[in-house]
Amino acid sequence: MAANRTIGKINALGLTREDYKGGKSTLCPGCGHDSISNQIISVAYDVGLKQENVIKLSGIGCSSKTPAYFLGRSHAFNAIHGRMPSVATGATLANHDLVAIGVSGDGDSGSIGFGQFKHLIRRNVPMVYIIENNGVYGLTKGQFSATADAGQVLKYYGRNELPPIDLALEAIIGGATFVARSFSGHAEQVRSLLKAALAHRGTAVIDIISPCVTFNNTPTSSKSYDYGKAHEIALHEIELIPEGFVPEREEINIQDYEEGQIIEVEMHDGSYIRLKKVGPDHDPRSRVQAMELLEKAGTEQLFLTGLLYYEEPRPTLGETLNLTDTPLAHLPEHKLRPSKEALDKLMQGLM
């Protein structure tokens, strides 16, 4: 293997892109989810992510199978339907040094695990929370999910009369500090959002429309490839500028852009996200604007993608709970078991 590594084909950790792969996918050929897995592999390779520090978490569904297909050197937990958020919450409490990547679907996060999704966000569990959203249940063969288009017709289940749940909007309402929407057919944007999300300290939600080629890919479906390619309106070009990356920053010729066309968002670690306007005006630093934008997107059937909302992160759950800097999972016995004197004192008080 080492012999095959040539300059330019290994990353900062000396690993090849191959080293970031997982097992072979068992999803349908052409599934949008496989494209997302590939972008995760690329990003992890590009940024030199240390896989041993990563945990991959998922619930149940097609999307939730995917952690087996990327980052083979990371611990993974394929939990139960809709409950990945609570497992991620516990795992990151046990060890806050872990980089958590959760993969969920619209059935997982929009229905059975909707409560857990909202509460994870409310607690600001530090993790990247990816929703691979295709509007349909795949493994059980084509039922509508809660994000399906109103009025949509599916082969066996007829017409969906109910309005869709917008998971990005729900994330913002729930208190998420990083909320994005993307399209699995827009690989470059998925990658730049993933990079930014990994640098975020708090819950970073990325709702990625990811077509189901088997059950929900007719061009009229808003979750299809054709629809996405024809209708996607990207808000910005997104770039994560690493901490201390001064030279390139100076190279930017701000004059090339009109006022408000470049937005720079500083991250907690000193890196920042640079957004160059390419679509409708949107400042993701405003919660009200973000909600208005999604409201408009919903009523006017606009497929808007990009960073929808960003705010200076609130304390994470572990910080709120005032936990030790040493991860709980690494504490030695003398930090875990109080002394005999402490017990004797307690007993005296109870006599």
Binding site: A76, F77, S86, A94, A329
Partner: protein, 613 residues
């Protein structure tokens, strides 16, 4: 009511002599009136007199207004079980007073507010009427505190009538209020006034007395839930996720209250995370995630919550993740009777999870064991990489019990087979491989790595679905059968490591009693009474499932075995019929399940009924 058909339950019918330190009284009040403070003041004062005492709260599912009863039993012989009859009624709830008075045995005592002008409806009991309102009126007490403080009147009257030194009631209040001067003074002044009023106005005409003893010296008084919380904190719990539910809430409350034990003095930061979840599913999910990532993780719940945790309990069993679930049981069915005690979850807990699951269950029978199992449960969970469910109950968990001071854990934490980076390197160097579920030691327990282990081969994929011993997804029948066989080996191996039963055995006795949990005091007392009538019994108290050889032998070595438990279906008896493969027709289920703590009287009567046949 009022008929005493167990001869020894009360001495009241032996005329003439004073009855000292061997009777029970009941306090009838309205829920939410603050009477718990008064009741605990009495319990603590009696404890300070050195008299064995046990208080039980029999309360409704209600915040305020519904009737509630508190029973206090003193026993010079140290019996702490609930008695079916109480000789003294403190009738402070007008809506139940008629019933409370009617329940008294002949020769009993009733203390009630003078202002009711109740009248003396019975001639065979003693009435003491006390001016509750007037006593309280003499003091400047804020309106919102008046109802609670009114209950101090009966404390003062009881102290005077039955001889509790006034000073001890004050000391009890100091304990109750953690030494805070203001509430102590506010309450004590009422106790003192009531005491003095009783001294001047009441003529004692009953036979009941408290007299100092030395039987509580060096003992503590505590609830099972508080004991469990301390056990967990001394057991190195690092993640607690929970959802409030009676009667388990006070367990987590006590962890929160004693969290300072786990505040790192070097940094001022906590070494235990306590998170109130959005429901029991999330609580279970959080501890599964935490256990997987290397925490000592636990939750506390009760029946309805355990129902919601079923899926995660099954996942943790098959994914082999250590977690600890405290189930402080209450009455079913369904959402259940939240404030009534029961042992009705044992079958559900033992088999919780879909597919073929059997879970390790611990069955504490005392507050000492609540403490011990509080820490020991984590050792077992990590040793066997599996859920451990501790089944306490409302009676044990929420009531105050006398106990020996808790013994400091006698062994270091057992973190089980965890390979860190260095250990993994060594393992691979020696064996040429490492696979998560491969049974290297032939004990059914594999070696696990924790997420974050800095080694390129440390990672594995955790899932509840099919996998082979390399933790690779598999739907092959042979892989799954092999996995189940290993899990079976692990479970059989656990039999030798769970807490062994407590046995009192004499080969000359032909009758065996089996019970568990909070029934223990009632069983012990019933045995004494049966023995007094020539019915000698052996006794085995089960402390864990799966059962051990000792349980099997006990069942087989008796002509007749009675399995005594506080549920309707005789669930432990059913488990024993599974665990003991031989013919067990000589084993009879004595199951009650009436929502109240077991009484010796009920056990005595039922064993006697069958033995007399």
């Amino acid at each position: 009511m009022g008929v005493i058909d167990m001869p020894a339950e009360s001495q009241i019918q032996e005329t003439g002599k004073p009855i000292v330190n061997d009777f029970a009284f009941m306090v009838a009040t309205k829920n939410g009136s603050g009477s718990q403070t008064s009741n605990m003041a009495l319990v603590r004062a009696l404890f300070k007199m050195g008299i064995p005492v046990n208080g039980k709260n029999l309360f409704p599912s209600n915040i305020k207004g519904l009737p509630t009863w508190y029973t206090i039993r003193v026993s010079k012989d140290g019996y702490t079980a609930r008695r079916a009859t109480t000789e003294i009624a403190i009738a402070f709830n007008e809506s139940t007073a008629a019933e409370d008075i009617a329940s008294l045995p002949s020769g009993g005592v009733c203390i009630l507010p003078q202002e009711w002008n109740w009248g003396h409806t019975r001639e065979d009991i003693t009435y003491y009427e006390v001016p509750v309102k007037d006593t309280v009126k003499a003091f400047d007490i804020p309106t919102e505190r008046r109802e609670q403080v009114s209950n101090m009147v009966y404390v003062g009257v009881v102290a005077r009538l039955f001889d509790i030194p006034l000073e001890l009631t004050r000391e009890a209040l100091v304990d109750q209020f953690g030494g805070k001067e203001k509430p102590v003074t506010m309450n004590y002044q009422v106790i003192e006034a009531a005491y003095n009023w009783a001294a001047e106005n009441l003529v004692k005409s009953d036979r009941f007395h408290f007299a100092p003893m030395d039987k509580t010296k060096g003992k503590i008084i505590i609830t099972g839930n508080e004991a469990a919380a301390l056990g967990a904190l001394f057991g190195g719990v690092t993640v607690v996720a929970w959802y409030p539910i009676t009667p388990s809430t006070s367990l987590v409350d006590a962890i929160i209250e004693n969290r300072h034990l786990r505040t790192d003095p070097d940094t001022g930061k906590d070494t235990v995370a306590i998170m109130q979840a959005e429901d029991e599913i999330a609580a279970a999910g959080a501890i599964v995630g935490a256990g997987w990532a290397g925490a000592r993780a636990m939750t506390a719940t009760s029946g309805p919550g355990l129902s919601l945790m079923a899926e995660f309990a099954g996942l943790a069993y098959f994914a082999e993740i250590p977690i600890v679930i405290w189930d402080v049981t209450r009455m079913g069915p369904s959402t259940g009777l939240p404030t009534r005690t029961s042992q009705g979850d044992i079958l559900f807990a033992y088999f919780i999870g879909h597919g073929d699951t059997r879970q390790i269950c611990l069955l504490p029978g005392s507050v000492e064991e609540c403490f011990e199992f509080g820490w020991h449960a984590f050792d077992l969970a990590e040793q066997f990489q599996t859920p451990v469910i501790v089944l306490s109950d409302l009676d044990l968990g929420m009531n105050n019990w006398m106990a020996e001071p808790f013994t400091y854990p006698d062994r270091p934490l057992n973190r089980g087979k965890v390979l860190d980076k260095a250990a993994l390197e060594k393992f691979i160097a020696e064996k040429g491989e490492w696979y998560r579920y491969r049974d290297y030691d032939k004990d059914g327990v594999g070696y696990r790595t924790l997420p974050g282990t800095d080694h390129p081969r440390a990672a594995y994929f955790t899932r509840g679905t099919g996998h082979d011993d390399r933790a690779v997804y598999s739907e092959r029948s042979d892989d799954w059968v092999e996995n189940m066989a290993r899990l079976h080996r692990k479970f059989e191996n656990a039999r030798g490591h769970v807490p062994q039963p407590v046995v009192d055995y004499d080969p000359s006795r032909k009758i065996g009693l089996i019970s568990y949990g909070s029934n223990d005091p009632a069983v012990c007392e019933a045995r004494d009474r049966l023995a007094a009538e020539g019915i000698e019994t052996n006794y085995l108290r089960i402390r864990a499932l799966p059962t051990t050889q000792a349980v099997h032998d006990f069942v087989m070595n008796h002509e007749r075995v009675y399995v005594i438990e506080n549920n309707f279906d005789g669930q432990l008896c059913q488990v024993l019929r599974i665990e003991v493969p031989e013919d067990t027709t000589h084993m009879r289920s004595l199951a009650l399940g009436d929502g109240l703590p077991m009484t010796p009287k009920w056990i005595y009567e039922n064993v006697k009924r069958y033995e007399d046949k």
